[in-house]
Amino acid sequence: MVESGTRTTHSFGSRCKRRVEDPSEDPMLYPCRKREKDPDDSIRSKLGYVLIEVLCRLPCRSAIQCMSVSKSWFSLISDPYFVRRFIHHRHQLSRSDSDSVPFTLLLQYKESQKNILVLPSDNSELFIDCGGGGGLDFLDFLPCFERARKNYPFCIVASFNDLLLVRSEVPPIRKPSFCEYCICNPLTKQWLTLPHLPCSRRNDMVGFVCDLCSCDKEQRCVTNAYYRYKVVLIHSPTETNTTQLSLQIFSSETGEWRGSVVSSQRGLNPFRMTSLDAGVLVCNGILYWIDADKYGLMIKGFVKFDPFNDAERCHYIDPPINLLPRDLMSFGVFQGHLRIFQIPGHHSPHDDGAYKFYVWELENYGTWCLKHKVNFKDTVSDHSDLVKIANGITPPGALLAFHPNVSEIVFLQLGNYIVLCNMQTRVLKVVSQLRDGGKILPGISCYYVSVYAKSVFLLTQPSWPTPVPPLPFH
């Protein structure tokens, strides 16, 4: 059913019990009582479970290395209670400092050439070696990777926190043909494969969402040791103005794919380029995607679907303003809020030729709020190419992602550059340049690589790596 590459037996030491049989032997309750000192482990015998308090103050990697100190240490650290305590402690620490969740921006483009660009934040521990060619080799621990080597379709389709969802296919020219989804953690190299599906000829979109177990509702702290997840395959409506959407959903709780039909109050249109290139977004456990007009050119609105809490129907969100032809709009997420990035096209002869961009945020009550407004002409940069592009005659940039920690920072693609833009100071900074097969592309050229939003993955790193598969959800 579901195969996985993980530890299946815990043969070292017994599962850590929370309470010893005889409370008077518990060092936590009676620390000064003279007891049989374990001559082989002074610290463990002295501190008992309070050793957890010491270990959870180590960096994550060090704490995991400590598993190999002795079998009783292994029991302590591999117990989900330890992970919860570790995460909780980090959570409390981060409340006093400013939030700086480590993250990695991963761009996948020109899939046939398997180009990957990785941009880790300064405090990121995820090191992805793309090799000189900038490829998907960092996924070679996956069993399905052999298909990539054969040049069968193989790509990353979604991400959630520090997990990736990868799709590979054995195409119909080969028998048997099938499509396979695989969830993996690129840091710990744990993986699991979902049951096969037939290759689909329709335009599908995929969403991947996890529901993490709350360990402390008051402090809004979640533990990723226990979670359930769903992979949602959204089939394109076959006709315009459809009010029924056909989905296939894999649920970790059932371990199977199930077909489902979901109703929509608004008519939905078949997926075309605009929707397909943008892909599915996850915000607060809810999936969002774009609904375009029947020609697939202009965005009409956003479809919203909650697979965990409201799986019978989907809802519709109107954009902040009506789009006109030649307006560009893409969406992203910032700290649990849906955001729209809009570059209005030039519509009237009074336009001064400058391009502006607007960032709108969806507030809790369903209204859009204009958060940032930047005129490209006002941007500053010490890189002359950026200045040229910003003042150019074509829309200068496209949204890649919103910075996960700072509201006013956004990642844009300008030319073949990856640029960081501070919307308050208007400063543009080059952070990277696109390559093709290892060769750096010229920043300004007549050919710009398209990096589609569906292939931009913002991996955020929790204080403890998310296990694949998760522990059984109780």
Binding site: R7, S11, F12, P27, M28, L29, Y30, P31, C32, P39, D40, D41, S42, I43, R44, K46, L47, V50, E53, V54, L55, R57, L58, P59, C60, R61, S62, I64, Q65, C66, M67, S68, V69, S70, K71, S72, W73, F74, Q92, L93, S96, L187, T188, K189
Partner: protein, 179 residues
């Protein structure tokens, strides 16, 4: 002028009276320590006992020896003084000396042998003194940081009960952490 100086003298006297509320803590080996209530309340455990009105004359602490208790009291006194008249001192320990003026004092405080350090951890945990727990646990964690598992075993006299195969398997399953 004269009236204002009189009122200053009066309010000082009031402050004195407030501060003299004391509480007695009794260690496991029968020694009694009289401390200001405000200092004792650095311990959440003791704070709850006092607030619940269960502290008559003495609060017995059967889990803490006199040697450790006197050190704990020293810590609480020092930190309470540094925090001033306000509510319980800095809630979390930080080694950042710009935010924690007692960094140097704290560093000296934990320069003790391993056993005493462990006893302090247990006492801080039992008495629920967050700053002391943070300080002592972080000190032991720092002794482990950057060390290989074998070095950790040597530092803390821990016997390796893995066979080489078992140990290799643990490392293999968590390879990423060992790189």
């Amino acid at each position: 002028m004269a009236s204002s100086s009189t009122s200053v003298v009066v309010s000082n006297k009031e402050k004195e009276n407030k501060n003299t509320k004391k509480v007695t803590l009794k260690s496991s080996d029968g020694e009694s320590f009289e401390v200001d209530e405000s200092v004792a309340m650095e311990s959440q455990t003791i704070k709850h006992i006092i607030e619940d009105g269960c502290a008559n004359n003495e609060i017995p602490l059967p889990n803490v020896t006199s040697g450790i208790l006197s050190r704990v009291i020293e810590y609480c006194k020092k930190h309470k003084e540094a925090a001033g008249e306000s509510e319980p001192s800095v809630t979390s320990y930080t080694s950042n000396s710009t935010t924690n003026p007692l960094t140097e004092w704290d560093t000296e405080f934990v320069k003790v042998d391993q056993n005493t350090l462990f006893d302090l951890i247990l006492a801080a945990n039992y008495l629920d003194i967050k700053g002391l727990l943070d300080l002592t646990c972080k000190t032991v964690a720092d002794m482990m940081k950057g060390k290989t598992p074998q070095e950790i075993r040597e530092t803390f006299h821990i016997k390796n009960d893995y066979t080489p195969e078992e140990e290799a398997e643990v490392r293999k399953e968590n390879q990423w952490a060992f790189e």
